[in-house]
């Protein structure tokens, strides 16, 4: 792997297309931090070039530009299919409003507004869902973006086991512990509150991988 510092617009190589296939045996494939302009691959961000030789000789090399620090990364923007994390700010019988603060593992520059509609809270028995027994303002929720939505908000869904409330405080102000996928208990007052809890799947997977 070779590294070289580049700025936006610097040429990294020829682009892989059908007409040139005969001339160049393995043209590289453009990846993150690059842009294809005409027949050329140009850098689109400031960083170092990483050209990864492919393990399979039939596959082209992958060329990408990586910024040295996380600070220099462009802040995240929610896109369809992304898992986002945010805080519930408002609830009403039809929907819960979420301020999206993190997309994947990358924080946003500014929070984006998203809504979880009542039919998108869970996958089963959608007609029996009540927003008030699923979310409360202040809950930290993990959700998936299902649509870019209207001009105001992104449409989100928590209809998966690993999606839903990941952190919530009780009426007494203590951080609650999930006891089932739809109930949480306050460790101090022993009061049980209803939430659409997220299955802590990421942590479990990490342990399995280690």
């Amino acid at each position: 792997m070779t590294t070289k510092f580049v700025t936006p617009g610097e040429r990294l190589g020829l682009r892989c297309n059908d007409s040139q296939e005969s001339k160049i045996p393995y043209p590289p494939t453009a990846s993150h931090g690059t842009v294809e302009v005409g027949d050329h691959i140009l850098a689109s961000t400031v960083g170092t070039v990483h050209r990864m030789p492919s393990t399979d000789s039939q596959q082209p090399d992958i060329i990408q530009v990586i910024s040295k620090t996380r600070k220099k990364l462009q802040a995240a923007v929610p896109e369809v299919g992304a898992v986002v994390t945010g805080k519930i700010v408002r609830v009403n019988p039809r929907q819960a409003t979420l301020m999206i603060m993190v997309v994947g593992e990358q924080p946003c520059a500014d929070s984006f507004q998203g809504i979880v509609r009542v039919q998108d809270v869970r996958a089963t028995e959608r007609d029996k869902v009540s927003i008030y027994s699923s979310f409360r303002p202040g809950d930290v929720v993990r959700a998936e973006v299902i649509s870019l939505g209207d001009s105001r908000s992104y449409y989100l869904s928590t209809a998966k086991n690993e999606l839903g409330v990941i952190l919530a405080t009780s009426v007494a102000g203590h951080t609650m512990i999930p006891i089932s996928w739809e109930e949480m208990i306050c460790p101090k007052t022993r009061a049980i509150e209803n939430r659409k809890c997220a299955k802590p799947v990421a942590i479990k997977e990490e342990i399995n991988n280690a």
């Binding site: 617009g9 302009v37 220099k72 923007v77 520059a109 500014d110 984006f112 001009s151």
Partner: protein, 257 residues
Amino acid sequence: MAVHPKKFARSLPNQELFAKQMDQRFLKLAESRSYGPKQITSNQRSFDHHSGARLSCDVRFAPFATLKRTGYSKEAPEMTLAKDLATAIIPSLLLEHLPKSQIDVFVEILQTTSAVDSSSNYSRVSANVLNSLLLAHCVSAASLALADAGFEMMDSVVGCNVGIFKNNNSKRLFWMVDPADDEPETSCSGGGTLVGTCSIAYMPSVGRVTGVVINGDIGDVGFVMECVQVATDASAQILEVVVKKALLFGSDFIKKV
């Protein structure tokens, strides 16, 4: 200010500040910051939000920037500069990767010798012509700030000015790259007076001109084409000498000296 641009670039904490060499003696300073991507605010929701991000540019003169102290209110030249700046920067950005969001660019001009107010005209050249000289610096600074903030772009946009001078005797037009706005007259090429300017915004690697602003007495089409050609060549050099170095020093790729 007699600071060599290279030294200045090194002394900066980051590249939000950008100095552009005017000539060997004078520096024009502009501060440029970029924010976002963020959600489009309520008053701009009529914008087609699925087609990509929206770029909003704001150019301001600092009250102490001009020869005569000015107020904080927004003047016409600032609005013109902001509009031209947006036009010049947009083609370079890959805005389609950022749906439903907005990027804000703020340029604050810290030092200039041109007059914002057209009534306080101190030379034979109109204030409009002198203000248009600022566009090139705003473009370079804004593009640099966007690159430093990590926004994806096709190429850095570099601005360059060409001054159009008229020979006092033969009345023939000739050009000079990077005219100083406090030098409306030159002794080069047998002496001449600044009669017009040509400012361009250019993407050197892609080879695309993203903006041309022509002011004053510009002669015929052939002469304008010559000016644009000269300015594009100069922009390519500015990219190598100033912009790339500034980005290199601004990044953590090498330790700051």
